[in-house]
């Protein structure tokens, strides 16, 4: 018998998708039965009370969670987010229901043992409820009490070799795609770069001193499996400098139907014979491809790395050999001023250990943003407010054609004297003789 009647939540379970309501009910029943005989360190009925408070919020059309808190583990300014219910007497099981964020492994590679280990800790010391994964990519453990925080921290660090993730005005838990470990499109080792920078920037991850959150994400190629261009302040997206490699015999094999397009995806329906012109050439966003019935040609200078031809015919068309990455800055979700995608800052850099070139860009940006950023201002907003030109100046990057987003609509560009070779002299007096005020 459920502790609280939840007719509004029950309705959510009737849809076609798996329901988080069913999941929470399952955990409530599991904790009540306690088949492993655990000495639960948080209220046994916290999943029931979670359903109860959510039902009440649906009814009241208001949240019953209070915002934030001073909980955390000693010395860390992030990784734990205090959550308190404003109806603690009605829902004592979730009166204190803090969130713990854990850094996920690079590429989200898990072993069953690891997941069981995390759940052994969380079943005992938390609600047993998780969010795999949060929007930033971390493991989110939902709901525990203040006295359990240090215990959980000790166990995850000592037994699971796992650290807390980021929250607040910190570097957030960096995230990457699985990169070269499995993917032939990956232009650099995303996992190594992600892991190295996570270790190198521990202070920024755990001790908040930024105006607001800052996210790194590492995509091995422009397919963007971690969507860094939309979801991270500092987007690292693999690319190549030379030409796309084309195996013309295999192109013919695709045309003849010997290879399945798209690696056989969307094969649940008969789409008819593969038409290379209709499905690949005409779909090229810059129109830089052509097929004359025997040979596929690409005008590489006009390729924008949309990846469509490579994704459709991976056996015949491959990324170039001279690989590296582009760096873009400033994506964010629409809290202030609308959503924003990252803007291209570094068109190409070779990704080589110890990644000093990339770190130099990062640190220059941080120094500038820490100094100039307003409270709760993402770096993308600072960039918009103070201009892309200023960003180039602080990162010591010269303006180049790749930075141009569109033909300029504003004819008034002001150059500083030091930007013009040879400088220029301006005689205000002589000027005023020719031009009256």
């Amino acid at each position: 018998m459920a502790k609280h009647q939840t007719p509004l939540l029950d309705q959510l379970e009737t849809g076609p998708w798996p329901s988080f309501v069913s999941d929470i009910k399952q955990e409530a029943a599991h904790r009540a039965a306690n088949p492993d005989g655990l000495d639960y360190q948080t209220p046994v009925d916290c999943p029931d009370d979670l359903l109860g408070v959510l039902e009440l919020s649906f009814k009241d059309k208001e949240t019953h969670w209070k915002h934030g808190g001073i909980v955390g583990v000693f010395g860390y300014g992030g990784g734990v987010i205090g959550r308190y219910c404003d109806q603690p007497e009605m829902f004592p099981g979730v009166a204190h229901f803090h969130t713990v964020r854990l850094a996920q492994p690079s590429g989200k590679y898990y072993t069953a043992d690891y997941l069981r280990g995390i759940m052994d800790i969380w079943d005992l010391r938390g609600s047993g409820l998780t969010n795999m994964h949060g929007s930033t990519g971390d493991i989110v453990l939902l709901g525990t009490t203040t006295p359990q925080l240090e215990e959980i921290f000790f166990d995850v660090t000592h037994k699971m070799n796992t650290d807390l993730g980021g929250s607040g005005g910190n570097l957030r838990t960096p995230a990457d795609c699985l990169g070269q470990s499995r993917c032939e499109f990956a232009c650099y080792d995303t996992q190594d770069l992600c892991h190295t920078l996570t270790n190198d920037y521990q202070d920024e991850l755990h001790r908040p001193a930024f105006p607001y959150k800052f996210k790194f994400k590492f995509d091995g190629c422009p397919n963007g499996c971690v969507a860094s261009i939309a979801r991270s302040d500092f987007s690292v997206i693999g690319t190549w400098k030379d030409d796309i490699r084309i195996d013309q015999d295999r192109v013919k094999a695709y045309v003849a139907g010997e290879f399945k397009p798209g690696g056989g995806s969307h094969s649940g329906r008969d789409w008819g014979k593969f038409d290379i012109v209709k499905e690949v050439v005409d779909r090229c966003p810059t129109g830089c491809m052509s097929y004359d019935g025997a040979k596929l040609s690409i005008d590489n200078a006009n390729c924008t790395r949309c990846m469509h031809c490579i994704n459709t015919m991976p056996a015949a068309v491959k990324i170039g050999k001279e690989t590296g990455t582009s760096i873009l800055l400033g994506a964010k979700a629409p809290i202030l001023d609308g959503a924003q995608m990252s803007s291209l800052l570094v068109p190409f850099v070779v990704v080589e250990k110890p990644y000093d070139e990339i770190k130099e860009v990062i640190e220059n940006i941080w120094d500038w943003w820490m100094e100039e950023g307003k409270n709760r201002e993402r770096v993308g907003e600072t960039m918009k407010r103070l201009s892309f030109q200023k960003l180039l100046e602080v990162t010591n990057i010269k303006a180049m054609p790749q930075h141009v987003k569109e033909p300029r609509s504003n004819p008034y560009i002001f150059f500083k004297e030091e930007e013009v070779p040879g400088g220029f002299a301006h005689d205000e007096k002589a000027y005023r003789q020719r031009h009256m005020r």
Binding site: H67, I70, G75, G169, R207, K374, N375
Partner: protein
């Protein structure tokens, strides 16, 4: 001349009405210092238990340990 840590504590003790402060508020105590140096002073104070973090989940603020009304709720 009070030490840097004392200056931070003096600043925070002298404030009424507010118990939590942004990192940038505390940087104003040391107008000539780089942010990263200020951070080191604050980290030491946190490690000594004199300052504590307050976090909404998205933003973080600093305050004197135990100051403000929220402390009672945590216990």
């Amino acid at each position: 001349m009070p030490s840097e840590k004392e200056q931070v504590l003096e600043f925070l003790t002298g404030k009424t009405g507010k118990s939590k402060f942004y990192f940038s508020d505390l940087c104003k105590v040391f107008p000539d210092k780089k942010q990263r140096e200020v951070k080191k002073v604050l980290t030491e104070l946190v490690n000594e238990g004199k300052l504590e973090f307050w976090s909404s989940g998205s933003t973080t603020m600093y305050g004197l340990t135990g100051a403000g009304k929220q402390k009672a709720e945590e216990e």
